[in-house]
Symmetry: C2
Subunit: 195 residues, 2 copies
């Protein structure tokens, strides 16, 4: 195996990258300025060395607590519950949400053996029960499992006397929050309703 | 800028990779086994450190002369002229060609100031004139500049008493050899004709 074949193979292992795209990327890096290629390699190493889950919300970040949890400009009375840390980035891109987050680390999926104990539910209940939080926005994906997870959490959270809301079904049903466009996500946030 | 933002930015600089794909790739590397991410980073560095143009044919390779030039199983009587080293990989994937290669490093393009002296033409004439080569296959892209380059080279090479052929127009006109599928490239090679 040559160094080019190795790199093509590594690119082709990435999701959504076929052999032709991998080949194009490899030759692009061969022709690009040396600095560009090394900066990409360094960024990959650094993301693995530096990025850790935030101990409060589960967001992936260089620091813990993460910049969102520490920001004095964020509203600690609102908590947005998402399945994955990548969903936070999708919501942050809209610039429409000023509260804090909580990452579940997945969604209920009995067929895959993922029950409540596999998700970050107890820390969510602890955070929601301190009295500081007045609203929990359930922003799990609009899929069957995401809806079931939202209903389950709503039942757990409602005894705490909070406002529990669900993002509007502005997102295409069966879709994936991570890939939705900013306007759709913003509309879904604005149209959230009581559960 | 966080490490994740840095990596997303570096991915988004690659050709054909938008911000959403860059985001998906970055989060994939965050979730993938540590080894996978480091192997990709190492492959990028190695491709820059090891890969150099072959001193004979111009192919990009870990060694010079490259493995194709040194292979005893290749036919030194046939020379295939391509614009870029990436075109060699596209032709090799078909498994239909057993001769050697010569990389021009581009194509004639007067509007961009690329004339014959900007391309590896003199080394091609030297290789074609040793008496060992009996056929030169002109496999420049089927674009206007590629055709003009082939015609120009055919005129230079025909006084040497060689067979000078052009790959068939099985390739879609205006297309790019690097992205064509293997069957089309194989057909174009099989249907090559005298110029």
């Amino acid at each position: 195996m040559s160094a080019i074949d190795d790199l093509v193979g590594e690119f082709a292992r990435l999701p959504g990258i076929g052999r032709k795209t991998a080949l194009r990327l490899a030759f692009h890096l061969l022709k690009a300025p040396d600095d560009d290629a090394r900066r990409l390699a360094r960024s990959i190493i650094e993301v693995r060395d530096k990025v850790r889950p935030c101990e409060r919300c589960g967001n992936l970040s260089d620091s813990t607590p993460c910049a969102i949890c520490l920001s004095p400009r964020r509203d600690p009375a609102t908590l947005c519950v998402v399945e994955e840390a990548s969903d936070i980035m999708a919501i942050e891109r809209t610039g429409e949400y000023r509260g804090l987050y909580h990452v579940l680390g997945g969604r209920l999926s009995p067929l895959d053996g993922i029950g409540p104990s596999e998700l970050n539910v107890p820390p969510l209940l602890a955070r929601a029960g301190t009295g500081e939080v007045r609203e929990v926005v359930l922003a799990t994906n609009p899929s069957v499992e995401g809806e079931a997870t939202a209903l389950y959490l709503a039942r757990l959270l409602s005894p705490l006397g909070l406002r529990v809301t669900r993002i509007a079904r502005g997102l295409p049903v069966g879709g994936d929050l991570e890939y939705a466009d900013g306007v759709t996500i913003a509309e879904a946030l604005a149209g959230r309703r009581e559960l």
